[in-house]
């Protein structure tokens, strides 16, 4: 479980995050949604420690992240997997070597054990063996995302972060990626936080949803409640897509 309490973050005097509090449950896909520029990426990067927050607390289970010593943070980071928007795979390494990288860096496993783990991770994200030796530039966007997910789970993390994991993908592949993340979250009992503005993802896997507007928490709930809400800001966000407006009308 990850909990954030009263987080504030500003850049050059502009408040980007204002008094954000929320609890992200273990074994669930927790979504942070909001318009572009609402502060969701800043929140995600603040939780990860890529930005230092101005005020507030970040708890990884019973460990307070903000007050942690540099060495403790490094140790905690080995329990974190991250899937970046663009995949962020290492260009100079093959698919296989990308997954092996964290294993080489942080474990004392034998080459055979590493090979098994690499195969396990890649098979879990449905990457065929023929693609193991390919380089990131030689595979499709959807495949890159799946490899990025495989790398994120290589060290068996307790916490998984995904920054717009299905952006730039066709709807079918996007759904596959969403379902894959949800499946892995349940299988490995991870605390997963996903940053998205894709309503399909919200409906598909939004077990817990945090809606941010102008750097503030505007609504929290789940995908089951989201279409019923009377929150104006959230309604403006969701029903900007006419399909969802129609869906609600039909439901009512």
């Amino acid at each position: 479980m990850i909990e954030v309490k009263n987080i504030y973050k500003s850049f050059d005097g502009a408040n980007v995050l204002k008094d954000i509090s929320n609890r992200f449950e273990q074994g669930k896909t927790n979504l942070i949604i909001g318009r572009s520029g609402s502060g969701k990426t800043v929140l995600l990067k603040s939780i990860l420690g890529l930005y230092d927050i101005d005020q507030g607390e970040i708890w990884y289970d019973n460990r307070e992240f903000v007050k942690m010593h540099h060495k403790e943070r490094k140790k905690l980071r080995r329990e974190i997997g991250m899937v970046f928007q663009g995949g962020a795979l290492f260009d100079s390494l093959s698919v296989e070597a990308n997954i092996r990288f964290p294993l080489d860096m942080f474990t004392h496993q034998s080459p055979v054990e590493k090979k098994k783990r690499v195969e396990f991770c890649l098979e879990h994200v449905n990457i065929e063996k023929s693609a193991f030796k390919l380089f990131p530039s030689e595979i499709s966007g959807g495949m890159q995302k799946r490899v990025a997910i495989a790398r994120a789970i290589a060290l068996n993390p307790k916490y998984l972060f995904c920054d717009e994991p299905n952006s730039g993908l066709d709807p079918e592949t996007a759904t596959i990626i969403d379902q894959l993340i949800q499946h892995l979250t349940r299988e490995f009992e991870m605390t997963t936080i996903i940053n998205t503005h894709d309503m399909n993802s919200v409906i598909e896997i939004g077990e817990s949803v945090l809606f941010i507007a102008k750097g503030e928490v505007a609504w929290t709930g789940s995908n089951k409640e989201i279409l019923e809400t009377r929150n104006k800001k959230l309604n403006d966000f969701i029903f900007a897509n006419k399909l969802y407006a129609q869906l609600r009308e039909e439901k009512n």
């Binding site: 890529l50 490094k74 080995r78 663009g86 962020a88 795979l89 290492f90 080489d104 942080f106």
Partner: protein, 246 residues
């Protein structure tokens, strides 16, 4: 103020770069890769440039010393000393700043804008150390060798070009390159090579590591890195010459 900001940030980065490596074995592997990419791949260009410059210098020295009061051996001596003292250390470093420096900035800069560096940081890897330290060690290690190769092929260029151009005979040239030879010049230039190697790797790495934006900014950072590295090479050339040679 911006200058002091960059100087401060550069030394902060260096402190991070020389932090304790997570796994030495991976750094060593990376070091060999960098020696190959940055060093071995530069040998051919060094040889070609040195042969031509050695040849051109020999002809120019012969032309400017065409007065019969100068002994012809001065042509060999002039070529040798210019190669050792300035060309094979300083000029070569300026050329390598363009080749290796822009390569380092664009590689690290691209990793920054595509979030690969963030990815390393989140894994708990000291990204500055992992990406930059092997490059610095590789370039500092390879530069003295490139200097020696450059001097050798520069002298060879003069030996081939001088007689072909009819400006000096082979025995006169060989006698000239051995005349009044001070081994300290080699020591002095090797020291310069090490310092310039450090600058050629660390300054472009700094500009790549802190790049913000996209591919356009990476390109701009490469240009800025090469310009600044060149200025620093010439500045340190002046300082080292004053300290070690006069």
């Amino acid at each position: 103020m911006k200058f002091f900001f960059h100087v401060g940030q550069y030394f902060t980065l260096l402190k991070k770069v020389f932090g304790r490596p997570e796994k030495l074995r991976l750094y060593v592997r990376q070091l060999f890769h960098e020696i190959d990419t940055l060093g071995v791949n530069s040998v051919w260009i060094v040889i070609i440039i040195s042969i031509f410059i050695g040849g051109i210098m020999t002809i120019q020295f012969a032309y400017s010393m065409s007065n019969p009061i100068y002994p012809t051996t001065l042509v060999g001596l002039g070529t040798r000393d210019t190669l050792i003292l300035e060309f094979s250390s300083t000029m070569l470093a300026l050329i390598m700043a363009g080749k290796i420096g822009s390569n380092i900035t664009s590689e690290i800069g691209t990793m920054r804008v595509t979030e690969q560096i963030d990815s390393l940081e989140i894994m708990g890897v000291n990204s500055a150390s992992y990406l930059i330290l092997p490059k610095i060690v590789a370039v500092v290690f390879i530069f003295p060798f490139l200097f020696i190769i450059s001097v050798f092929f520069g002298l060879l260029g003069g030996l081939v070009t001088g007689p072909i151009a009819g400006v000096i005979s082979i025995p006169d040239y060989i006698e000239g390159i051995q005349w009044l030879f001070y081994p300290y010049y080699i020591t002095f230039s090797l020291i310069k090579s090490v310092v310039f190697g450090f600058l050629v790797a660390s300054v472009p790495a700094y500009f790549g590591y802190y790049v913000k934006g996209g591919s356009l900014e990476v390109g701009k950072a490469s240009t800025t890195a090469v310009v600044n590295t060149n200025i620093l090479i010439l500045f340190f050339d002046l300082i080292l010459t004053r300290l070690l040679l006069t």
